[in-house]
């Protein structure tokens, strides 16, 4: 069983569209949408939710107004500016749950035990069936943190399913950037595929994303989407990748069919038999080859 994670550095380069096509092309696989703070894969794969569970990213502090003696120690100790005074009439503080990082310092410094500290529910994760196979996905609550922990749950569940059902591939849709959720998505994976575009921004972000993968010693390949938008930069990116020992698994041409497929809620390779689908199929074949 092999786990492939699709990331991009820069957002909007076509990760999810590519993963949806891989879902249609790969046999014996489980899909995992690890872009938990802006999950989109479900819009194409139309999952039927079979199991759901609450996600708690940690605890949150809450001030018990009746017990508070207005000493101000909690506000002084909080490093996240999460304690404020909503009422100008008195000094009873309140916790801003968006800024609260659940460190518990306020709970411990409160001399009268006036702060409760319970697991906060800040998301949900699902095991679903799709006509492409099983899928694990999640929803992070509005303005919530700790996406890395939720990503790890999604990946672990996908792995359990792959092991139980003896599947060949875990295909992971990652998030943009190089921070917490991306690190949680790629750590320990068999292969990272970085999807980029032939723009200076795409090039810049690809380099940082591939440095991140190298930092965690994960084999990395790249693919240039919409390569014909700027063939010169596409060539430059490929040359740079080669210099860094990163294999290139192919180019995908610019085609409005990619947007149209999304609107029809289907994968590109199912939507059109055109040249762009051939490009994607080639990318998938090369990706499997790169997995060894």
């Amino acid at each position: 069983m092999k786990e492939i994670v699709v990331i991009s550095g820069k957002g909007g380069t076509g990760k999810t569209s590519l993963v949806a096509s891989f879902a249609a092309l790969a046999e014996k696989k489980v899909l995992a949408d690890c872009d938990v703070d802006a999950a989109d894969l479900h819009l194409v794969l139309n999952p039927k939710i079979g199991y759901r569970e609450d996600f708690s990213g940690g605890k949150k502090a809450k001030i018990i107004t009746e017990e508070c003696i207005e000493c101000g120690k909690c506000e002084e100790a909080c490093r996240f500016e999460a304690i404020y005074y909503p009422d100008s009439e008195n000094e009873i503080p309140c916790v801003n749950t968006i800024f609260c990082e659940g460190c518990g310092v306020c709970v411990r410094v409160c001399p009268v035990e006036a702060i409760s500290f319970d697991d906060a529910v800040n998301g949900e994760w699902y095991i679903s069936s799709t006509h492409y196979g099983p899928m694990v996905h999640a929803r992070l609550g509005m303005a919530e943190g700790n996406s890395g922990k939720l990503v790890t749950i999604v990946r672990n569940k996908a792995r359990e399913i792959a092991e139980k059902e003896n599947l060949d591939f875990i295909i992971v849709d990652g998030s943009p950037g190089i921070g917490c959720p991306v690190i949680a998505s790629i750590a320990g994976a068999d292969l990272v595929l970085v999807v980029t575009e032939p723009t200076l921004s795409g090039q810049h972000d690809l380099l940082r994303a591939s440095e991140l993968a190298a930092h965690f010693r994960i084999p990395t390949v790249i693919c240039i989407n919409k390569w014909d938008l700027n063939p010169d930069i596409a060539k430059q990116i490929e040359a740079e990748a080669k210099e860094r020992g990163i294999k290139d698994v192919g180019r995908i041409r610019y085609d409005t069919a990619i947007t149209k497929a999304q609107i029809m809620r289907t994968s590109v390779v199912e939507y059109t038999g055109g040249a762009v689908s051939e490009d994607i199929k080639q990318v998938w074949r090369n990706t499997i080859y790169a997995l060894g």
Binding site: S8, G9, K10, G11, G12, T13, T16, D37, A38, D40, L43, G58, K59, A77, R79, I98, F99, E101, G102, C103, G104, V105, R108, V109, L140, M142, A143, E144, G145, N146, S147, S175, P176, G177, I178, G179, C180, P181, V182, I183, P198, T199, L200, S201, H204, D205, R208, A209, E211, L212, H215, F216, L229, N230, I233, T256, T259, Q262, I263, R265
Partner: protein
Amino acid sequence: MKLAIASGKGGTGKTTIATNLTATLADMGKTVQLLDCDVEEPNCHIFLKPRLESSTIITTPLPEVDEEKCTGCGICAEVCEYGAIAVVKGKVLIFPELCHGCGACEMFCPEDAITEIGREVGIVEEGRADGFRFIHGLLKIGELMSPAVIHAVKVAGGESEIVIIDSPPGTSCPVIEAVKGTDFVVLVTEPTPFGLNDLQLAVGMGRVLGIPFAVAINRSDVGNNDVKEYCQREKIDVILEIPDDRKIAEAYSRGEMIISAVPNYRELLETCWERIIDIHQNWES
């Protein structure tokens, strides 16, 4: 006026709007600064080509144990909610990547054996672009704590008549850090199912934070009408529509400003700014 340019979905055109709007405002004679808070993948410098004048290392607090004072009592591990400290056979082990720098271990160590040292998580660079101050942050590769670097960029920014913030994509902690404390948020999207879904998440975030916001639709003629219908239903103003244009895409790919490649965009952005001011003034929470 502190204005954040954000989006749920990545690659919708935040950086394009942030850089071109800032340059347009500077040309109008306004005192403006641009803060690139997408510290994981900052791109504004590619378009603005600023002269960078200074660079500051950003650190977060990390505990360090004085082994002579430490008795191995384990209280530091007990009070750490992030699992960043373990005490094994009387010896304290620290996992720096998991530390949030809350200070609990230092505060509650009964032997006073913990001090905090600075751990490098990124850098902030400051300089000048054509007619305005420019600041951006770069998260160190392999680090998790982008909010710390974003916070540092915003602190470096200080006060100015207008501050434009280019936010990272998404709706979780890094975005909250970039957007909090701003007066207005422009949510950039695309008229596609992904664009709509992620816009809905971003609108939810705007509402939770209680910050006035409006929507900009990029590549406005490529998909379907669902984004506009959604905005109408929710009574959200659409303040800017940029049609799909190969000239824009190509200029973008070369790192060129849209207002230079397609000059009539200047006027569009001026109108967009007027609308932001207007909506902000009349906003009822």
